[in-house]
Symmetry: D2
Subunit: 95 residues, 4 copies
């Protein structure tokens, strides 16, 4: 049996995140339906925003590490330090 | 027959927005499941963020107009111009 | 001798914040001029963004507490709890 | 006489942006000092935020195009399409 590839593990992790976000969106729907107060609704929306930013940060990281350089044709071409600096900025803005 | 109250109309409008966001989140799920490219996934996440910000802007506006002043006990106390200036800033930051 | 009014104290506090931001902007200028690396420059810009958001949060709070209701004509009309809930959301988005 | 290098032209462009931001910060200082209304001050702060985000987007772009791959050792290794997709997302979030 072949081990699960990197990509498929990533996909499962991302799917788990998206499903959690769907659950958070459904919680907003229930809160509105149940006439919850604005405070509760605003907190739930804020949680969706945080989780969506976290998902974006992860997809951007995958994109940078996987697609900016074709590592089979150009092994070692992606500068690890510069990549980390970029992703630090991305995470700061997606917090 | 009584006319639909302001609150219930607002609730329906907000629920419609939330359901649209749920549909957008499900589109991310399908895109990941179908091995769509990062670009597609990043666009879909960006759309959820925009829609979530729009929802927050609307809930904040309802909150400000409905709850900051009890208009039955203090009719006319909420300054309309200052409220508009506040909501302009909120919308700028939630774009 | 009259005590310093609330407004003037607020103004001094806001001016101190703005001057700190000016200093941070000048630090970006010096970093670029001195050929500092991107990482350093990105950190300095990120600091200006954080400080600018903090300034905005403070001005919005002053605006809400001072201008949404004319407290001389409508004493006690501004709902303290609803105001705090609003400002919590504002601060979350301006972090 | 040697032509101005790419880096030095970039530096001048970035310095011009930073000086414009410094001018915008000084305008906030004057507005506060001159007891301008909250609305004016909030607009000026919002302008600094926009300009700071624009500066960050430009520095991030320079960083990605210049440092993620050492183009002398690995010419052509940076995938142009994937880079554009990344920078599109960065710009969307820094608007």
């Amino acid at each position: 049996m072949r081990p699960m590839t990197h990509t498929i593990r990533d996909k499962q992790k991302l799917l788990a995140r998206v499903r959690r976000i769907r659950g958070q969106v459904e919680a907003i729907e229930r809160a509105l339906d149940g006439e919850a107060g604005c405070e509760k609704v605003m907190h739930l929306i804020s949680a969706v925003r945080g989780a969506t930013n976290g998902l974006m940060a992860e997809v951007v990281e995958d994109h940078v590490r996987t697609h900016l350089v074709d590592s089979e044709r150009h092994p070692g071409a992606l500068n690890a330090e510069a990549t980390d600096q970029l992703l630090d900025v991305v995470r700061t803005y997606l917090k």
